[in-house]
Symmetry: C2
Subunit: 72 residues, 2 copies
């Protein structure tokens, strides 16, 4: 599995979960203490997030990180 593909997968998963919670990128980003533009990049798969970034997002979404990375 190639890097860009993985980034898209995790990005799409974050988007899916975020939308299921009915929260905007803006709000979710703020809960993670960063800007909406950065959240957009992550969801678009244009970055390879670190473990701690994924953890922050999972916390903000109110889910476990295991559920955040649960794909395939």
């Amino acid at each position: 599995m190639k890097k860009e593909e993985l980034q898209k997968i995790i990005g799409n998963r974050i988007r899916l979960l975020r939308e299921s919670k009915g929260v905007s990128q803006q709000v979710l980003a703020a809960m993670c203490n960063f800007e909406k533009g950065n959240m957009s990049r992550i969801e678009a798969g244009r970055t390879n997030p670190t473990f701690t970034t994924l953890y922050k997002i999972s916390q903000a979404l109110g889910i476990k990180i295991t559920d955040l990375v649960d794909f395939e």
Copy 2:
């Protein structure tokens, strides 16, 4: 939860899983296409691995990434 703490948690988890498979850092690192020194850093919690690095490690360990990040 602070960054360093999270890094240690994931590092310890990788070590635990690696040892349970009875494989050395050297061998696991090679399966991930990097050097043993880098695996040592990750396990020691001295780095904040990216999503793709965690994925590579989970694949090398023959487990799902959900199981790799399954802690607490």
